[in-house]
Amino acid sequence: MTEPGHSDPPAVEVVRAGKRYGSVDALLGVDLTIARGTFFTLLGPSGCGKTTLLRLVAGFEAPSSGIVRIGGIDVTGRPPHRRSVNTVFQSYALFPHLTVAQNVAFGLEMLGRADARDRTREMLALVRLDGFADRRPAQLSGGQQQRVALARALAPSPEVLLLDEPLSALDLKLRREMQRELKRLQHETGITFVFVTHDQEEALTMSDRIAVMEGGRVLQVGPPREIYDAPATRFVAGFIGESNVLAGEVREGRVHLPGGSVPAPDGAAGPVTLAIRPERVTLAASGAPDTLAAVLATTIYQGADLTAHLRLPDGTEIAARLPADAAPGPPGTPHGVAFAPGALRVLAE
């Protein structure tokens, strides 16, 4: 189905896709729409179903139920070699018996493309491996192999490029570099990228949109800022960055928490679970209005900043990220805990 007014169908549509392995459900009725030309990330811990979802789109596996569409066309039963989708594998899966240029040309030759040679040269230039055409994969470093895998997958100009944790084997410095490189390539080619990762920081810095997955379900889909600022569930709040999670009750526009009450977020009523990021928590004088009474438990110095852990009267701990020059005093010092306006989020359980 296309949105009214849009003639272009989305790059990928997954409709109620389920996947069972024996008695284990890897995916439970996943619905997902990925718009053309976006950098889309599937984020979640290992075993959440993100790689299974990727393999369904690539056609390496068939869903037990549901439909997969690519560019508006139902490809559910199609084998991988008949889908305009290419994959960058976690292990790179470069053909060891072929040269770099032959690897990059592989897809083009299988398609019988007459421009295979020129296109290969173009792709090697795009990933900055011009001088490496005649080397074997074994003669390249990990980062270079990664670039070959990218060039090989991009060469046939697929409708969708799938990337299965492609950066997990690289060290931190190279990883940062490849993150920028991937963004650049996505921008320059305009191809839809579907990127799988368990690294929330990677997801936040690279993506146009993120789908957070857990236990075979998609919990929340949105741009990184929305996922970070307004996590929909306790899992999302805990998985993306750090969060304080508090239980409280809303009465007469105020949410009552251990140690005091603060103005309630819009639309909250009755017993609620709330999340707030440590950097949106500030310290005020003990007993100040709209603060919670707390005592300092520990402080942890982290160079650029300082994290203070405060204990509420019922024993709940709450973390506050403070500037590095803050002086919250010794453990036991009483403080008022304040929340930045609008920073408290109501979580769905």
Binding site: P80, T87, Y92, F95, P96, H97, A153
Partner: protein, 268 residues
């Protein structure tokens, strides 16, 4: 804690040297005496290539050598083709019931005493010969192919198991049909294993006595059975020369086998 190290035991060096001498001294003696100028196999009479010349000029040796090579080449070709399919069948289908039974069946020639197989083949082929009237080299080729299969199978299977399965997935992802994937990815990566298996099969076939002795018809001596026949009469240095030539060929092929099976490029 120190690990137990047999090399630290007293007398280890002497036993090792003794074992090596036992293994290699007879072969060295045979090689040396194949260059003996004297008629005797026990007395050194100077260096000469006369026994090589005699063996090469002997029509019976020529015929036996040619027969050996024809049988070994045919057996190596058939065995490696069968072994390749067997290896693909046993490693590319995931786990399935009866897999262990299949391994046992494929490797049967390694476990059943060769003399048993030889007698069994003799009985079966004898009745086939009577029924069909055909008495050519086909029986030897078939018998050799059968017992060469496990030798050809093992290096191919090792190669397949060492191969990254995602390579085939990647080929399919890059628009290769299942046949193209096999042709352009699986087969080239498998090639060294197939070549190694074929060489091993060739050497095993070239060397066989027992099954050949039972299966061959009159006038179908291979090199080893010819030599055995010769030794029954008189030991001449000519046999030394033939043995040395076989040794040289075998060593060359086995060296090639080890070079090919060194796993170098199965992974990127």
């Amino acid at each position: 804690m120190r690990r137990f190290d047999p090399a630290a035991l007293p007398g280890f060096a002497w036993i090792a040297v003794g074992a090596l001498i036992l293994l290699w001294a007879p072969i060295a003696t045979m090689v040396v005496y194949s260059f003996n100028a004297s008629q005797s196999v026990a007395l050194w009479g100077g260096f000469s290539l006369q026994w090589y010349a005699a063996a090469a000029g002997n029509a019976a040796v020529q015929a036996a050598a040619l027969r050996s090579v024809v049988i070994a080449l045919s057996a190596a070709a058939i065995a490696s083709a069968v072994a390749k399919m067997a290896a693909l069948g046993t490693t590319r289908r995931g786990g399935f019931r009866g897999r262990r039974v299949i391994y046992l069946v494929i490797n049967q020639p390694l476990m059943v005493p060769e003399i048993v197989t030889a007698v069994a083949l003799l009985i079966v082929f004898a009745s086939v010969k009577v029924a069909t009237g055909y008495a050519g080299l086909g029986y030897l080729i078939l018998a050799h192919s059968a017992f060469c299969v496990p030798f050809a199978y093992l290096p191919i299977r090792a190669r397949l198991e060492g191969m990254d399965r995602s390579l085939e997935t990647a080929a399919a992802d890059l628009y290769a049909t299942p046949w193209q994937t096999f042709r352009h990815v699986t087969l080239p990566i498998l090639a060294p294993g197939i070549a190694a298996g074929a060489m091993l099969a060739f050497v095993i076939s070239l060397d066989d006595v027992i099954i050949t002795e039972f299966v061959k018809s009159a006038g179908q001596d291979t090199l080893p059975t010819y030599m055995l026949g010769q030794l029954r009469r008189a030991v001449t240095p000519e046999v030394n020369a033939i043995s040395t030539a076989l040794l040289a060929l075998t060593v060359t092929l086995l060296t090639a086998f080890f070079v090919l099976t060194r796993r170098r490029d199965t992974k990127p």
